[in-house]
């Protein structure tokens, strides 16, 4: 279980996220939504241990933090022209097992090949990452998550700018991990997808506006936050107020 205790994260003297408390239950599947600049990525990075909280703390119960959490960065934070092979990228998911010096065994190579097959990229191992489309690139990063085999997955905008096919495939993968008992936290913009596929929602606008079952969290009470989101993200994430809602 991941528990946030009165978490405040600041850049310089500006608080990006204020006083977040709550917990991600084991096996829960949570969408983190909110307008631009709401601090979603910041909160996710703090949970992942990339940022140090100004106040409060992140508690991971029952496991070493670096083993418990797998983090998927926003694709924009990665150098996509970097000349590294697909297989090497996926194998990096085994870092906790092999570290800087451990050898890549035949067994691990097989695991990499299997993971690539699972994300629909069988036989792509020898390709270079700089040849891939955005969708293929994201599939490779999902394969890397597979190798990490962590019980908690933190994903920053996993479907942003992905084609429909990739989104459907990767979403199916997330649902499979959810069924297998993984705890999933994903920063998302598409409110339709959140309503349909994510049981829990954390609505964030520098502080927590709502955190609970999706239907409650995306309630009309928070329309003032969600309407601008829909405008920012276009028809794809259209906010559709229900009749009488």
């Amino acid at each position: 279980m991941v528990e946030l205790e009165d978490l405040t994260v600041a850049y310089g003297r500006r608080a990006a996220v204020r006083q977040v408390s709550g917990r991600f239950e084991p096996g829960s599947m949570t969408a983190m939504v909110g307008p631009n600049g709401a601090g979603k990525s910041t909160l996710l990075k703090t949970i992942a241990g990339l940022l140090r909280p100004y106040r409060g703390q992140v508690r991971i119960h029952g496991m070493d933090r670096w083993r418990a959490l797998a983090y998927l960065p926003q694709i924009a934070e990665i150098d996509r022209s970097f000349p590294i092979t697909v297989a090497d990228t996926v194998a990096a998911g085994a870092w906790r097992r092999i570290g800087a010096l451990g050898g890549v065994t035949a067994e691990l190579r097989q695991e990499v090949a299997d993971a690539l097959a699972t994300v629909g990229l069988a036989g792509f191992g020898a390709r270079s990452m700089d040849e891939l489309s955005g969708g293929q690139f994201q599939r490779v990063l999902f394969a890397r998550l597979l190798l990490q085999a962590a019980p908690v997955m933190l994903l920053d905008e996993p479907f942003h700018a992905m084609d429909a096919r990739t989104t459907a495939d990767l979403l199916a993968l997330l649902q499979r991990w959810h069924r297998e008992g993984c705890t999933i936290v994903a920063v998302l913009h598409d409110l339709d997808m959140v309503r349909r596929h994510f049981p829990q929602t954390l609505l964030l606008a520098r502080e927590v506006l709502a955190w609970g079952p999706t239907a409650d969290a995306l309630d009309a009470r928070h329309r003032h936050v969600m309407e601008p989101m829909a405008v920012d993200w276009g028809a794809e994430a259209a906010y559709r107020p229900r009749a009488g809602g």
């Binding site: 241990g49 933090r65 983090y71 990665i78 150098d79 000349p83 990228t89 906790r96 800087a100 010096l101």
Partner: protein
């Protein structure tokens, strides 16, 4: 008669100083080839340049205390290079200046300070020696030093290669694994300085970075893999060292510039003819049809 043997091999067989120079170039190529590629991929090409200038005042201080002594100038150059790298990093992390600007500030200071220090005691000849090197005067002691640094650098790089590449490709992922990215970065900077100090023995402070960055930049046009780029970079550096020395011997040119200019020629040739995005390749590649 100018047989191929006489033209291409004989100078290295006949003269000990040419052999030592060639060996020094080979060691430098093997040591700094991979370092240059990683600098390039980390978008730190100019950092290498800045650090080569930063080595100068240290070497000059060593010269001031110990004259043209190998160890004095080596240790001085190494310490000064590290201090500047550290200070530049500190400034870029804690002030509004970005790393390139803070490096520029420090290396201009270093260059001026270095020239001042050398001219306080030495002649213009000494200054030229420190700035541009005298690879034809490399003695056994210097050769051991260059070889030792190249060997140590290759071994250390092999040990930190994986995290270094990962940190460059996807830094937040590496940090999310709890790995100390900054530690590897620091070790890498130490390797950069070490290789520049080794290059300084042969090529001088200003030319040393040439054999590091030009082959690395050229290698991008020959391979899409880091391993391939490192291989290409080492090969181009070796070729430049050999051809540059030969050129300098045949045409009576200063050896450092001859080597670096040969590397430049390889760089230009790669831009034109390299199979991975070279200009000619682009020109004659089949174009996608427009509807």
């Amino acid at each position: 008669m100018a047989t191929p043997y006489v033209t291409l091999v004989a100078p290295f067989v006949d003269y000990g100083f040419m052999r030592r120079a060639l060996a020094a170039c080979a060691a430098l190529s093997l040591g700094s080839g991979p370092i240059g590629v990683l600098l390039l991929l980390r978008r730190m090409s100019l950092t290498g340049d800045a650090m080569s200038h930063a080595v100068l005042p240290g070497a000059a201080a060593g010269f001031l205390f110990a004259g043209l002594s190998l160890w004095g100038m080596t240790v001085g150059g190494f310490v000064a290079g590290l201090v500047v790298a550290f200070l530049a990093g500190l400034v870029s992390r804690n002030t509004v200046l970005r790393e390139d600007a803070s490096f520029a500030g420090f290396y201009l200071t270093s260059l001026a300070l270095g020239v001042l220090l050398v001219s306080m005691r030495g002649s213009n000849i000494d200054l030229l020696h420190i700035l541009f090197g005298t690879i034809l005067a490399v003695d056994d002691q210097a050769l051991y030093l260059v070889g030792g640094i190249a060997s140590a650098s290759t071994l250390i790089l092999a040990a930190i290669y994986r995290p270094l590449v990962l940190e460059c490709f996807d830094p937040s992922f590496l940090r999310s694994l709890g790995a100390r990215g900054s530690l590897y970065h620091l070790l890498f900077l130490v390797l950069v300085v070490l290789n520049l100090v080794a290059g300084f023995q042969a090529l001088g402070t200003l030319m040393a970075v040439g054999l590091m960055m030009l082959p690395a930049a050229a290698s991008r046009f020959w391979s899409r893999r880091i391993g391939g780029m490192i291989g290409a970079s080492i090969a181009i550096a070796l070729l430049s060292g050999y051809a540059g020395l030969l050129l300098s011997y045949r045409c009576n040119l200063p050896s450092g510039p001859a080597i670096v200019l040969t590397a430049s020629a390889c760089y230009l040739a790669s831009i034109l003819t390299g199979p991975r995005g070279g200009l000619l390749h682009r020109l004659y590649a089949p174009r996608p049809l427009h509807p």
